[in-house]
Subunit: 373 residues, 2 copies
């Protein structure tokens, strides 16, 4: 194992409060400047009362948030709430100014830090404590995550790290999931490139399972799983898509989606904030490479879910490997993967292509084939 490289440079960040009370942070590669007011689509304070209920058979929480429907505000068709406000009569979520990435509280959150105790309800009901944030990747409404420069993708990794650190500092958050859901095929109606952050006051099932599995591996073999995995994949070479030295992308031998791609640092760390400057820059380049290949694969913007997996915040979990999982929803041109009986009813995935074959196809795609799509 190598030692971490120099820590990444401090990012430029500036905090604001929106007219409705929500928080906004603007991040930049250069110092942030703002022109004009900090807007909000509505001046009404968010009145979210999310709650959680316990699923006694699956042993997991379910989030409920019944928000006021029928907003009075009817936006023009070209209205984009994630673009900087250009017409003060139709305020968006973001101001004009010099910044690269913006993060603000979701106006329709499934979890909030100040969720009230529910008045009454069935057994296993409690307040939906947590936080839901929106992460706008760029001021360019038509762009993609992969249209960011290498430095901007590196900044995004820094923003995800910073949000995680800030959420941990509240003392109320035990697990943070950053993700991007992309594509009309999966119900995304807002095309401005953005992601979301869900911060939980408990450790959700997937993170709990991963932590337990990885800690068991570490206890049994005396070393963390990640270096063994990286070594095995480099030895075989069959499933690696791109190897940047300090990071690599791979279709894992246990891929659940046809072109599932994992992007990971080759040194085991459990949080984004533990990456050195060179490691984070490498991870950013590999992530961009992976996304461009997925778009180039069929010559269309691949619909996908991207999730950033970090260790729970309820204690040190050195066995947990920080990694990014990308689930591309197309298994062939125009053919979606749907989750049916075995996936949803049994929790077990069926995949009709071997990871080795999928990786070979992705290696054959030039990242430049994914540009300008």
């Amino acid at each position: 194992m190598t030692t971490p490289t120099e820590a990444p440079a401090t990012l430029h960040a500036q905090d604001f409060t929106k007219p409705d009370g929500r928080t906004l942070t603007l991040y930049g590669l250069e110092p942030v400047t703002v022109t004009g007011e900090i807007p909000s689509p509505s001046p009404d304070p968010v009145d979210a009362r999310p709650l959680l209920r316990w699923h006694p058979l699956r042993g997991e929480w379910v989030m409920y948030a019944a928000h006021r429907m029928g907003r009075t505000f009817l936006p023009p068709p070209e209205y984009n709430p994630l673009a900087p406000t250009s017409d003060p009569a139709h305020p968006t979520e973001l101001p004009q100014g010099r910044y690269d990435i913006a993060v603000f509280d979701n106006r329709f959150p499934s979890l909030t830090l100040n969720a009230p105790t529910p008045p009454q309800g069935p057994a296993g009901t409690r307040a939906g404590v947590g936080k839901c944030e929106v992460v706008v990747f760029s001021q360019n409404a038509q762009g993609r995550l992969s249209d960011l420069t290498d430095a901007q993708v590196d900044l995004l990794l820094g923003v995800w790290a910073d949000r995680t650190t800030r959420l941990a500092a509240t003392g109320q958050i035990h697990s943070v999931l950053a993700f991007e859901n992309r594509g009309v095929e999966v119900g995304v109606t807002l095309h401005h490139p953005h992601g979301q952050i869900y911060a939980y006051d408990h450790v959700p099932p997937v993170q709990a399972r991963m932590t337990a599995q990885m800690e068991a591996y570490h206890a049994q073999s005396g070393r963390p799983w990640l270096p063994d995995f990286v070594e095995g994949e480099r030895e075989s070479g069959e499933r690696i898509v791109h190897d940047d030295g300090e990071s690599l992308s791979v279709v894992p031998p246990f891929a659940r989606y046809t072109f599932e791609t994992w992007v990971l640092p080759t040194r085991p760390v459990s949080l984004l904030s533990e990456l050195g400057a060179g490691e984070r820059a490498s991870l950013a380049r590999t992530l961009k490479d992976a996304l461009l290949r997925l778009d180039g694969l069929f010559g269309v913007r691949m619909p996908y879910l991207l999730t950033v997996h970090q260790a729970p915040l309820d204690g040190p979990h050195p066995a947990f490997p920080l990694h990014i999982e990308i689930y591309p929803y197309l298994r062939a041109p125009g053919r979606m993967k749907y989750l049916a009986g075995t996936e949803q009813g049994a929790g077990e995935f069926a995949n009709d292509k071997f990871p080795e074959a999928a990786a070979a196809e992705l290696r054959a795609v030039s990242p430049t084939a994914g540009e300008n799509l």
Copy 2:
């Protein structure tokens, strides 16, 4: 707790072998008769070599089955492989004859009983042992499960029970999942009413979790979960959609999908085969009622996933409650529920309507509103 009622009458069943070696069973309310040959779309034996790989982070198996693509046979556009064969030049999966329900081995299985040991591969690779079956609900290509008569739905419950008993008798199967996936919205291209059965040589994650949770409940409270649940739901009444006495339908307080509906017997049993004749007939009526209401809700055939949850077959699991879960994919007219970051990346669902509200809407729908859609 009541005692079981009289056992259901033995169903009429007849076994056949297809030209390609696969098995076929025809089931009927009346004795089965067949006219002509037992067909198969292709005479070539199925050469499936499915395998399983272990996902070390999620701690679950992933199924791989890379089937021969590019079949030589080009069917006419109206070709329906699940209809009885009418033109011997284009054989389907089923013969002409008098029968209600047919079950045969899937021609493209994700699991087979005689799966060979994989030649080599990454650690955690093994043969994909199990069985995948197709269950054709009716000879009527345009019908739905809810278009069956009460007696035919009762027969279907009997068929699912019979398949489970037969699969258990192989000694190789530890868990059986029967399901129906319906709707073009979720990729179903074959509209002839049918479901599938996945039989695993291990207990998959969802069934393992449910079993552990229910056994913990039983150990802690001294009684199984189901009667407590039924009692609580009957007391509140808020979430019950229909109560047939020996069975009921309910939007559970922990529903993950907006109009999620559970159909269950009110006496706790762990397998379909443990139901008495009256209980099974009641469950069939309640199931049909639930499906008609879901279609009537928005006046369209609701896309859904229906899964039948029975206890693992690796030993007695009296704490496991047999039940049917229906996940309707529409949360409002024309608006699908998609599984995004929190559902797939954390295993935790977000629902924007309270189960109490959803149940009230379903109660207000007359089952007749779901007929003839």
